[in-house]
């Protein structure tokens, strides 16, 4: 058990720490939380992504990956350390102290979340349907199949073109351990849930003060589906982490004009990792790029757009290239299904213009966002409206904040469009996926809701 924790929990954390340590140095507990949260997610994403070319060249069972990659990383970081001066991170001082009641209620929510996570792990040791039917099963295929490993992407397997971040991270951990262990997937799930919470609270401390951080943690855990779903070993919570990390890194960059632009490079990497986790990540990349470009164009800040775009694109590029290579080389295509069967008998035009489809999708979105999604009396929309009622102030929001909210809206519109164009039975697809898709955006919604107004003095910002 300890070796599994070391390989799937501690190794990614250390790997991320190595790289992030070039850019930032936390000075107190809240900023350490942000540092740890980002280190785990980015470290695991980097290791897992580096494993893909290793797998293509030497095969998934080839030994020595961890040693080679860690050795190379330590060498690179030692060389780069002279070039970069890490900035110091400290939590922003609060204008008023955190309310004891808010802290107490948040701690209760935290205790409930921990209990829910353990209960769900116990109830479904192999995770939910998608976990055992393809995420974890593909990892087993890759680990066990020897030279036949490319057959893991046969069209006969389920979702053979799904990206590999989670699957590779499992195979890589098993490869390092020298054996299979179901506990690897569980530690990774726990790692992403904890990293999401840490990155959310830490970033709010850094940008808005500790009282917002407590509120952020409480608000995130108000939807128990977050922890229950994390324990079901699906990819939605990891994907939600990369969405959040991208918004956080963009906000850290935009928060202070003098800040190094490498934060945007890191944001591009995080967006790339989202696309390497699940197909929805590709919609996210388009949404965040679209929002930045459109808002910069309307503001006629083309020079700034170019400087920022280059760095973001540089961070994104390796994952874009890897995704493209993967899709073109490994998953084989299924034989064509007769047209009418493949599209449920509806043409593209019919699907887009059918008012009933729009109504069904809108009704489902409304129910899931505003009213009562899984395991809840009150949905996320109602909670956020209550929060807005409490904190709304007539003061202009920053350009960066408006841009991130626009990206989130574009992402939701992308999901809407995907349902509209889907050739599957619409009712079935909404029933089995909408709650998960909206859960991916929940940590980012909370972050952006709490980021809007700055109640704390703009002083001791980190530098």
């Amino acid at each position: 058990m300890i070796s599994v924790f070391l390989v799937s929990g501690l190794l990614p954390l250390l790997f991320g720490w190595l790289w992030l340590g070039l850019l930032a140095r936390p000075r107190d507990l809240p900023s350490l939380l942000l540092f740890l949260g980002l280190s785990y997610g980015i470290g695991l994403g980097l290791l897992s992504s580096a494993f893909f070319p290793w797998m293509m060249i030497a095969g998934p069972a080839a030994k020595g990956f961890t040693l080679v990659v860690f050795g190379a990383a330590i060498l690179a970081v030692l060389l780069l350390r002279r070039k970069y001066r890490p900035e110091t991170w400290t939590a922003l001082p609060d204008s008023s102290p955190s309310s004891g009641l808010v802290i107490a209620l948040t701690l209760v929510l935290l205790a409930i979340a921990a209990a829910l996570f353990l209960f769900e792990m116990k109830r479904q040791p192999h995770g939910g349907y998608d976990a055992w039917a393809f995420w974890n099963m593909r990892a087993r295929f890759l680990f066990r199949a020897g030279d036949s490993w490319p057959r893991s992407f046969s069209w006969r397997t389920t979702h053979n073109s799904y990206p590999l971040l989670l699957t590779s991270s499992q195979v890589l951990a098993w490869n390092t351990l020298g054996r299979e262990s179901l506990a690897v997937a569980k530690w990774i799930a726990a790692g992403f849930a904890a990293s999401t919470l840490a990155a959310l609270t830490g970033s709010l401390s850094l940008l808005r003060g500790k009282s917002r951080a407590w509120l952020g943690a409480g608000l995130l855990l108000c939807q128990p589906f977050f922890v229950i779903h994390a324990a079901s070993l699906y990819a939605d919570v990891p994907l939600g982490f990369y969405f959040l990390a991208t918004f956080v890194l963009v906000a850290i960059h935009d928060d202070c004009p003098g800040r190094g632009r490498l934060w945007l490079f890191l944001a591009g990497m995080s967006a790339g990792m989202a696309a390497w986790t699940k197909n929805e990540g590709v919609i996210f990349v388009l949404a965040i790029l679209g929002a930045r470009v459109l808002t910069r164009l309307t503001g006629r800040r083309l020079r700034a757009l170019w400087c920022e775009g280059i760095l973001f694109a540089a961070g994104l590029f390796p994952w874009f290239a890897m995704n493209l290579y993967f899709r073109l080389s490994l998953p084989d295509k299924a034989p064509p299904i007769p047209g009418a069967l493949a599209t449920a008998g509806l043409s593209l035009y019919q699907r887009v213009t059918d008012p009933l489809r729009h109504w069904i999708i809108l009704k489902s979105f409304f129910r899931e966002i505003l009213w009562s999604p899984a395991f809840s009396y009150l949905g996320p929309g109602i909670l956020l409206l209550l929060f807005a009622a409490a904190f709304w102030r007539r003061q202009p929001s920053s350009w960066s904040w408006r841009c991130s909210v626009f990206a989130l809206i574009l992402l939701l519109l992308g999901y809407y469009g995907a349902y509209l164009l889907s050739s599957h039975d619409l009712d079935w697809q909404l029933r089995f996926s909408l709650d998960r898709l909206l859960l991916q955006t929940w940590p980012s919604m909370v972050f952006l809701a709490l980021l809007r107004n700055n109640s704390a003095p703009q002083s001791a910002q980190s530098k």
Binding site: S96, S99, L101, V102, L105, T106, V108, L109, I112, A113, A115, L116, F119, E120, K122, R123, Q124, P125, H126, W132, A133, M137, R140, F141, R144, A145, G146, S148, R151, S152, S154, W155, R156, T157, T158, E180, L182, S211, L215, G218, L219, L221, C222, Q223, P224, F225, I228, A334, P335, F375, S376, Y377, L378, I382, L383, L386, F387, A389, A390, F391
Partner: protein
């Protein structure tokens, strides 16, 4: 924090706790219900998911079932004996037969010996004489 703001924030967090307790109750009911306890262990028991079955098998079966690529059949195979990769060609040491009880003299089964029944309509064969 103003009084109204504190009240609204408390309402949000208490609603969150109510949501959490509802979820805990849901989990607890499923723990204590004998029909649901270990549901997953029965459906996808470690024997199926973690057994050391061969990594790659050939796949053959009832011609009717295999028509049109028989995607459903391959999925059934995945879900019941999960960690098995299937090969179109009959070139592997192990073979899985799908369909009704295999009849003696089936062309595809020539040279294979029944190892065991994996599930309804699924049989594992090993190359070689008994």
């Amino acid at each position: 924090m103003t009084k109204i703001r504190a009240i609204l924030i408390s309402i949000i967090l208490v609603a969150g706790i109510a949501n959490g307790l509802k979820a805990l109750n849901w989990e607890w009911e499923r723990r204590s219900d004998p029909d649901l306890v270990g549901e997953q262990e029965r459906r996808h028991s470690p024997i199926r998911l973690d057994s050391q079955l061969p990594a790659t098998v050939s796949y053959a079966g009832d011609p009717d079932a295999l028509e049109h690529g028989d995607r459903a059949g391959f999925r059934l195979l995945q879900y019941t004996v999960a960690p098995i990769l299937v090969s179109d060609r009959l070139d592997q040491e192990w073979l899985v037969w799908r369909g009704p009880d295999p009849k003696a003299g089936e062309e595809a089964l020539r040279g294979f010996t029944l190892s065991r029944k994996l599930g309804d309509g699924l049989y594992l064969y090993h190359r070689g004489e008994p």
